[in-house]
Amino acid sequence: MSDERGILLVEDNADDEALTIRALKRSNIQNPVAVVRDGAEALDYLFARGAYSGRSAAKLPSIVLLDLNLPKIDGLEVLRQIRAEPRTRLLPVIILTSSLEERDRLQGYEHGCNSYVRKPVDFAQFAEAVRQLGLYWLVLNQPPPVGP
């Protein structure tokens, strides 16, 4: 269920995490934010296993903000596994990364990301990007129906 309308932030950089949460707060996006530090932890969280085996696997966040360059399992592989798992295959995943490399954008979309957003250096622009993201994906966008 995504009734809690949570956000899963997959981010290994503590500064970027703090700035993202600050930007969300400033945009009055009150949804709960769960933060995981690497790809393996992200998958454990989503599939409710390992350190997250106590979590209900049925409870999915509304959106996943996914960095690409991650320790252990990289972002593209996380995305691939999300899409391969029937329960999570429709989960909205937004790649939020520093990279504008064509290869990354192409592979991001090929692996089925819903959106690809680059983190600007300028915090004002970064905050604006996060605000628009939150508004669009958490308010305007209608999520996929929950499967049987």
């Binding site: 500064d15 970027d16 600050r22 490399e101 250096v121 915090f123």
Partner: protein, 488 residues
């Protein structure tokens, strides 16, 4: 005269008149006394025209001294055999002849005249000349030219072959061609000979042959059947060219390419980490400076706030620099895929986009009404236009009305595309610095920028095989002109 004598005379007369050689008799003074039909065919004069006239009529002026010498020899009773000379026909043409002349004695043994048999050897001479010309060509060729029989026995061996393989003709003519074939390639020769027997040509066959001193050469061989007059294949000609150097160059090139590819992949990995990892700390610097300003702004005086703003500006400028450098390196790496692009439309669209971002700016754009089709990589060309039109926008920032003009001219028969503005311009003595990385002619306080844009533009133009140059004067606007090279 006896009847036998008469018969014999008639027989001789028949032989003379049916001969293909001209048979002429003359007195010791050189006056013609008989003239057979072949003489008429060869020289064009009839017997009636010639009998009683001096033979000297037939001698070209440059050989006038020959006849007295010949007559002198005849008087001494000497024969002249197969003397090759030239004679002039009635129509003026000169022919090559071989003549044999014998003295004629009377019953007392006194020399009374001469018989002369002349054969036309013009064609024979021409063929000989062609042959010697051809053999001179074969001899002077840098390529090895070798003749061989269908069994692979060497029949001819030119100097090129001698130079290339080290054997003299005496050493190899009559031997098997296998003397120059490395043992592991012996079957190749059999295959070539099979094809030659079928009348086929073998062209530019690249293989290895061995020299007399045991070196293996990379050579390219073209082998053709040699036919006799009836068209039967009787042997093969083989032209071999030393391509050792060419092969070596090819291998060196392939290796260089491999190294360049590797360097490129490393550069790609490097740029990737630059793009990703260098930007993250900048985000922190900018973001937390901003957080400080927002959350603790009231605890900072105006100077403290100004310091923080400078920190943020520097972080943002560095972010822009990283982006520009990445663009530059991407341009260097990416392949050029040419297609037809409307350059005028591209300028128009770029200007419209820039104008929408600066709604207060008054811009007059001219010269973009008609399509200007160029053969270029559309994405790279868009970067060029983005930079050049972007510069025109930027440097006309202090003008009430910005004029930007696009035009097409010609230089050295090639189209030249120009973008002119009425902006701040530049001092021509610094024109050479314009296209260098990080070179700026204006202070950031006047016009912002990283100094990478024009370096990127130049690199793109060069990758297309074109040229770019700039003209301008301080406060008098700038014109950037470029050509787009043709498809290689």
């Amino acid at each position: 005269m006896t009847s036998d004598g008469l018969r014999e005379r008639a027989l001789l007369a028949a032989i003379v008149s049916s001969s293909d050689d001209a048979i002429i008799s003359k007195t010791l003074d050189g006056i013609i006394t008989s003239w057979n039909p072949a003489a008429q065919r060869m020289f064009g004069y009839t017997a009636a025209e010639m009998i009683g006239r001096p033979l000297a009529v037939l001698v070209p002026s440059d050989r006038a001294d020959e006849e007295p010498t010949i007559l002198g020899k005849l008087r001494r009773g000497e024969r002249i055999d197969h003397f090759e000379t030239r004679r002039q026909r009635k129509d003026g043409t000169v022919i090559d002849v071989s003549v044999s002349i014998s003295p004629i004695s009377d019953a007392e043994g006194k020399i009374v005249g001469a018989s002369k048999i002349a054969r036309d050897i013009t064609q024979h001479k021409a063929a000989e000349e062609t042959r010697s010309r051809l053999s001179a060509i074969v001899d002077s060729s840098d390529d090895a030219i070798i003749g061989k029989t269908l069994e692979g026995v060497i029949t001819t061996w030119n100097r090129g072959a001698e130079r290339l393989f080290g054997y003299t003709p005496a050493e190899v003519v009559g031997k098997s061609i296998l003397v120059i074939v490395p043992p592991d390639r012996a079957d190749e020769e059999a295959g070539i000979l099979r094809r030659i027997r079928r009348g086929e040509r073998v062209e530019h066959f690249e293989t290895v042959r061995r020299t007399k001193d045991g070196r293996d050469l990379d050579i390219s061989v073209t082998s053709s059947p040699v036919r006799d007059a009836s068209g039967t294949v009787i042997g093969a000609s083989k032209i071999a060219r030393d391509i050792t150097e060419q092969k070596r160059a090819q291998r060196a090139l392939a290796q260089a390419k491999e190294e360049a590819d590797l360097a490129n992949r490393e550069l790609e990995a490097f740029s990737y980490s630059v793009a990703h990892d260098l930007r993250a700390p900048l985000r922190s610097i900018d973001g937390f400076s901003q957080a400080l300003l927002e959350d603790y702004g009231d605890k900072l005086d105006a100077e403290g706030q100004s310091h923080l703003r400078r920190v943020r500006e520097a972080a943002q400028r560095m972010g822009q620099l990283i982006d520009d450098l990445l663009n530059l390196s991407r341009v260097t790496r990416s392949e050029v895929h040419r297609e037809s692009v409307d350059l005028a439309a591209l300028v128009r669209a770029t200007a419209a986009h820039l104008a929408s971002e600066a709604p207060d700016k008054r811009v007059e754009l001219t010269g973009v009404e008609d399509p200007v089709i160029v053969d270029a990589d559309p994405r790279l060309l868009a970067l060029v236009v983005e930079n050049l039109v972007g510069n025109a926008f930027k440097f006309t920032g202090k003008r009430t009305v910005a004029h930007i003009d696009f035009s097409v001219g010609t230089a050295n028969g090639q189209p030249v595309y120009s973008i002119r503005d009425n902006g701040a311009g530049f001092d021509m003595s610094y024109a050479a610095k314009l296209f260098g990385v990080f070179q700026r002619l204006h202070s950031p306080a006047d016009f912002e920028g990283t100094g990478v844009g024009l370096a990127t533009v130049q690199r793109i133009i060069h990758r297309h095989g074109g040229r770019i140059w700039a003209e301008g004067k301080v406060d008098g606007g700038a014109t950037f002109s470029f050509t787009i090279g043709r498809q290689a």
